[in-house]
Amino acid sequence: MGASGTRCLSSCNHKTGCRSPRPVVSQSNVASFLRRKTLFIAACVMLIFAALPGQQLPPENSHAKVELIAEPSTALPGRLVAIGLLFRLDKGWHIYWQNPGDSGEPPKVQWQFPPGFAAGPIQWPQPMRLGGGTVVDYGYESQVLLMAPIEGTLKGGAAPISGFSADVKYIVCREMCIPAKAHLTLPHPTGDDWVRWHSLFEQTRRQLPKPAPPSWKVSAESDNSQFIVSVQGGPQVQSASFFPLEPGQIENSSPQGFASDRMGFRLILKKSDQLTKPISTLKGLIIFGPGKGFEVAAPVVSHKRESTGAGSRVVPNGERKNVKTVPDIKRIRAYSFDCIIGRVGGAGGRNSTGFHRN
């Protein structure tokens, strides 16, 4: 607290530390000056509140620290446009994507916002594949920001800074799983917080999966044992992975077949044993690499075809030109979130050996 106060006064006196993280208005006119000045004063005033109780972090032994942070508006200084849960995980521990895969569960949050504001849906960054045996999950290691836009009905659009809190429940796993919950309040940000928060939101946003371009023609064929997802009109790629949005549709631990030709590529996915009814749409992400994830919704056409087992129709293992399996979890791991907003733990990134079951 004392340190924050000292830093504030010092920064403000030097007129360097309490600015917006990016120039609010580039022209040097009166409006810009006033806007900057307002922000500068607001940021300094906020620091007075730094002495108030801030984050309530879960117990130290939870192997995850979670922090409530918010994104400042660039148009309306001192107001907010998005909110997020920043998870920092001990090395080797993970939390889960919206489809957790075979085990685990995604974090759940209940936001508490000032009157007139609500959260939009969580924007889930690209997950990584976790586990290497017969149990495969989807989630995040190291650090992840789960962000949600703040939607307001009040005039002016952006939200004030105070009065935001969240109750979050999550499970953090490595060889074992530890459930945790926390009540988080948005701290009154320092000038440094503004910069850090802004940067985290910007970095995360750049790495979110994007809607598939309209030029892609995506479809899926279904037979007794597998889905064949076809993407035509997309980029020429050497490999791709499918991450299903819904649990219980594909066998997460099965290697995914990949085949390409001049028209595009196909992914061969073994059906889950839990899937007993036809589905009309197979939704998920097609991921080529870090920051190259696309949301697809493939309409499914069923073929009643005799099957002799997985992979019987499209041979997934080298017996056919341009067809190869994609069992390479290390490569899939390279899509890991450390490429998105950096690893907190430093070592133990892509060269780390163990894949963690929960």
Binding site: S103, T134, V135, D137, I178, Q274, T276, R357, N358
Partner: protein, 180 residues
């Protein structure tokens, strides 16, 4: 394992040293419950008494209930036979038997992925349910009340001679701690 398929035959040693075969139970409904006492999802159902209640109810109605422990030595949930028997007594569990599967052979045979994952085998030996214990994939004890228990629902239907209306679900929980 897909529902409708014949449940694969197995032989396993239980915590009393007895050798159990699936064929021993031909003509009865058999429940397989994958368990790991260190897993918070399993603990939800034992700390609330839910699992013990189900075991008592269904074994009293003639169903065979086999708890299966597939944790490898050194991993969470691995126990010796005597440890397990002491635990069963402590938590007042009432399965027909607890099968010790430290090699994971039985787990892999059924492709069990989580604890608690549940399977139900018909008296004729067909798999009629493969999935979660209920519809609340959480670790909160408070979620046991009010959950739809898929195992009881399936057994109620099957023991009444009806088809199981929900024969699968995502088997939530912790991953089974197989050997590396």
């Amino acid at each position: 394992m897909r529902v409708g398929e014949t449940a694969p035959a197995f032989t396993a040693t239980d915590s009393n040293g007895k050798v159990d075969k699936l064929s021993d139970y031909h003509g009865k409904f058999v429940v397989l419950e994958w368990s790991n006492r260190g897993c918070p999802y399993t603990q939800k159902h034992y700390n609330s008494g839910n699992m013990q209640r189900l075991q008592r109810e269904w074994t009293s109605r003639g169903v065979v209930w086999l708890t299966v422990l597939s944790s490898a030595p050194g991993k969470q949930g691995y126990v010796t036979a005597s440890d397990e028997n002491a635990y069963l007594s402590q938590v007042k569990a009432a399965p027909t038997a607890v099968l010790l599967d430290p090699t994971g052979a039985l787990g892999h045979l059924y492709d069990a992925k989580t604890t608690p994952q549940m399977f139900i085998i018909s008296p004729q030996g067909a798999l009629i349910y493969n999935g979660a214990i209920d519809d609340r994939p959480t670790t909160d004890v408070a979620d046991v009340n009010g959950a739809k228990n898929y195992v009881s629902a399936a057994l109620e239907e099957a023991t009444a001679g009806k088809p199981v209306s929900q024969p699968t679900s995502r088997p939530y929980g912790c991953s089974v701690k197989y050997p590396d």
